[in-house]
Symmetry: D2
Amino acid sequence: MRAREHGIVIGTGTPGPHNAITDVAGVRVGHTTLISGEGARVTGQGPVRTGVTVILPHGDSTFDEPLYAGLHWLNGCGEITGMPVLEEFGVLTSPIALTNTASVGVVRDALVELEIAATGKPAWSQPVVGETWDGRLNDISGQHVRREHVHQAYREASGGPVAEGSVGGGTGMICHGFKGGIGTASRVVDGYTVGVLVQANHGKRERLTVNGVNVGERLPAKPVANEGAGSIIGIVATDAPLLPHQCRRLAQRAGLGVARTGGAGENFSGDGFLCFSTGNRNIPSAALDSATPRTYQVTALSDEYIDPLFYAVIEATEEAIVNALVAAETMTGADDLTITGLDGATLAKVLTT
Amino acid sequence: MRAREHGIVIGTGTPGPHNAITDVAGVRVGHTTLISGEGARVTGQGPVRTGVTVILPHGDSTFDEPLYAGLHWLNGCGEITGMPVLEEFGVLTSPIALTNTASVGVVRDALVELEIAATGKPAWSQPVVGETWDGRLNDISGQHVRREHVHQAYREASGGPVAEGSVGGGTGMICHGFKGGIGTASRVVDGYTVGVLVQANHGKRERLTVNGVNVGERLPAKPVANEGAGSIIGIVATDAPLLPHQCRRLAQRAGLGVARTGGAGENFSGDGFLCFSTGNRNIPSAALDSATPRTYQVTALSDEYIDPLFYAVIEATEEAIVNALVAAETMTGADDLTITGLDGATLAKVLTT
Amino acid sequence: MRAREHGIVIGTGTPGPHNAITDVAGVRVGHTTLISGEGARVTGQGPVRTGVTVILPHGDSTFDEPLYAGLHWLNGCGEITGMPVLEEFGVLTSPIALTNTASVGVVRDALVELEIAATGKPAWSQPVVGETWDGRLNDISGQHVRREHVHQAYREASGGPVAEGSVGGGTGMICHGFKGGIGTASRVVDGYTVGVLVQANHGKRERLTVNGVNVGERLPAKPVANEGAGSIIGIVATDAPLLPHQCRRLAQRAGLGVARTGGAGENFSGDGFLCFSTGNRNIPSAALDSATPRTYQVTALSDEYIDPLFYAVIEATEEAIVNALVAAETMTGADDLTITGLDGATLAKVLTT
Amino acid sequence: MRAREHGIVIGTGTPGPHNAITDVAGVRVGHTTLISGEGARVTGQGPVRTGVTVILPHGDSTFDEPLYAGLHWLNGCGEITGMPVLEEFGVLTSPIALTNTASVGVVRDALVELEIAATGKPAWSQPVVGETWDGRLNDISGQHVRREHVHQAYREASGGPVAEGSVGGGTGMICHGFKGGIGTASRVVDGYTVGVLVQANHGKRERLTVNGVNVGERLPAKPVANEGAGSIIGIVATDAPLLPHQCRRLAQRAGLGVARTGGAGENFSGDGFLCFSTGNRNIPSAALDSATPRTYQVTALSDEYIDPLFYAVIEATEEAIVNALVAAETMTGADDLTITGLDGATLAKVLTT
């Protein structure tokens, strides 16, 4: 059950049919979830509580058909590979993968493999991989994510409803002292759809705020050390026709959604946000041997109409975080650490009393 | 033989004893060079013309003892992982590795392994890996770099003279239409040492300029397609006590050295520069469990004295590029492509006539 | 009466003695308020509802003794002059002045005059002037601010309590559909003081949120067109010893305080934040003829201890905005436009029911 | 006489008909030059050696019809007002003015006056004013530029040949130890025109390099103290249809032209570059009351074709600097300081021997 199914409505906007990033036409999400072992942590053996999530930005090959994109860091204690290309050209040239901090490399190189398969040319791309740190519940030093896990998530990615909570890259995450992970939400404004997917691993319990109500300590949870030392990666998708600098503007607003739920871009938190627009699909591939036209036509949103998209990003980010919390059930991981799942019914009750 | 041994003197500054990045006390460099196979390219088999170079920024563990650092992109068609941490905190928290574009991930995760071994704690760091593209001479899609190659370069890293040309990450690189690769140089100014190491894979032949003289087409070379589609990564080290934003300032000047030798930050070139300072060694580790003091004392260079360091970075970058070119010998790689080595004696002659 | 005097307490932190930016030792604030005329707008004649606010960052001459500083734009539809120096050197080299959009220039040049008087040398500095747009209540095109108004605010700047609401640069401002202007607040954490001063001219009425409660439409106000087309400039002062990049980190958090009170960095809003630290006072002047030492010693806060400062900035920004709203009384300006002052007692009542 | 008339040809590209920024259709340039008094400096009286240059980016009102634009700082010891709007929206919304450091404000506010006259609406814009420091030859503290000087340069701006050397904003400037000022040049590539105009006040004499030849100390000049403490502002115009981030990319290349003539972005130098594209003219005005369409169509250059524009910017910047030097004649200013004009015939001779 998701936040809305518990009667928890965030903001005033209208979600899309799945209230998910997949409401942006063509966007697909796949998860590979790795859960095995229990008890004491033995590096390389487990317990394993991790995974990888892959987001395909449109229905075709991103390696061949880039999209305009932009990013923003609220706090840069994290990683999103592929940043220079995103910033220099303003384009997203690969699927986006999310995983744990110690497995960014293997996931990145697996995307290179997928690029080679997709393009039939020598590897060239700078894939985009974000991460958050699951080193409490997961044997992170064991680097358990393997290339085939990325291939699987890529292969199985689909539109429609998105699994949330302790799945994919979000499997072992902790958020505001509760079990965190993957969450998503969407808004429809002015005929455009804005979808947000987060991998939520950030925040202190005493700061958790839902719809303006500080609820963190009014909800039962086993205490956990070092809260707020996590991170949140947010992916914003929209079919509004945005130029690269406009994508960057939307990306910064995802951080405002984090702020409204109690985050602050804490020092040890890697709070990075990437926004891509599917509103222009004819952007030339960066590949060297293409028969690229000298110029091409694009559609741009007039900046004057961007505020509703800002509000949509903020609200959808808030709701995606709450969805991640509500979906994730209590988990016991490495060294028998147990992280309490936030109970949606209890949260709904606290919000109305 | 290096440029100076051929009588080619770049600029007016004084090099350090090894005219290398290792002239900055504590800096060590290690290369693993992978050369095998010949003939037609078969993905996964070869021919292999690649490798990895590791730079250890000081004599101890960078994972435990960070340094102030900053970076600049002249053109962002490339990758340096770990950018968010570098930009948010202004610190370098790992060794630096350079490799080929398709192997960034495996090298990054190998540095994570080294972090675990060095710190004895769960993996946490965001290692720094830069890359350039060796896909003409090397079976880049084969992703031939393996973790043990990184471990080897790390283990064997040493001070003193640095092997140049077709070694380490520079093995399969092409620069201004000639065989490129690793080059280094240094300058001593005002009692400080500035060292630069480049992995040079950039530039068009007709623009190659040494000491102001356009020499590219006055030197014999087999033509090669798509020159200028490479990249250059430059690492600037100094013992001058620089704050993070001052490191960033030096990093930008490395791009001016590229410009003076004929580079332009071409569209498909990933020209990224990272500068670190060993002048402050007591910067607290970012690790969560450290008994970190609330404040610490650092020494800062007065900005008014920074110009000589700027000039040193420019000159040393120019000379490092020329050293890379002069050191790299003619190489035949995948599909029997041959890239001509620039002959130092011929270059010296052209410069004086 | 301020928010706290109405029983409205923002957050959990402890304010300094004046709950103002002047709680940071040495910080002084001066306002020149220009109110004259009424009725129809005649460009050049009035009505005049504007002014200038000057912030002196420490007890001596900022022109001679710079401070580390950093800035962040949540949305850049605005102006803060002097940005390149702030970003390149990480230092604040002038007092800070706030005024209306059309008078930035005269205020800037007046600060140059003050520099000449203070230093006795040829003009050199790049003064820092921020602005928001008072073109509804004020004959902004009349450019009524004159140099002597800046001199007066500079001369009369003092520590202690700070006048709020429709004073100085905030005189003609509108915030979330109510009368806005200058507001300030402070927090004491870990022995450090963080003070924030805002010139608040931003936000839509329906989004105004205090302590998580959406109150904008539950408070009486005459409707006003084009809300959200304003801006907010926030100045963050602290005596914590921060390096330039750490100041920039605090500056970004001011935007989170804006978000928590209902702002979104709207498209036409210039939401810029500048943070300076008085924690290091021996930073060499940039003046050319100084007998500057080659290096100097500074104290830096370990990043690990920065979160409480982040929270303090967020809270103090929220409270400064509410203080601006509560202090500003209903004002009638150009073309008889009336903007309703938000009544603190009514707000307090709404928040508790 | 200009560099080419002396036989000094920079690079290999083809200039436009006027070899000036005005070769980009619609671009107009106007100068107001202020020269009066001699002898000892008396603040407020003179001697006066300063002025203002205005660049109109297209044939209509920039206040109503913005252009895509981007900027880059090689070294930020300077000022270009209006930066936040340029960076947030990627548009240029005003004419560009260049003047001396102490007069930026008055010039900015004069552009606001011109905006009011052009639009007939309340002042709203954030005008773009760059500066360099003429405090050696000019009584800079006297702030001699007045609003009517800006109006005059704006009114008299024209296409065709551009006056160079000691004119307009460049009147009192010093460059590489010689008399500097305004210079311009252009290149035609792939059917596009790239024009550059510089206000050159930067560089050390011993580093001056023309076509790769270090000439500074081979040319006669009276020594001058503190060379390299100036600045260079460069304006890049093109009719190639560039998006904002592509303009920013061209702007960075202007710095490479500075580097190739011996600049280094010295510490006290404000080396800022702004590029605008006239290739799209239907960008919605940011004015609040416009009947703006929700979306609009733009043409974008495929990045793959951008290299020739990069080379054109580099070359044209180099030539604009040399043109500034060659055009500026020996000048005596405040306190009888004489700055030697670089003689073009002598330079030509040095370059060929």
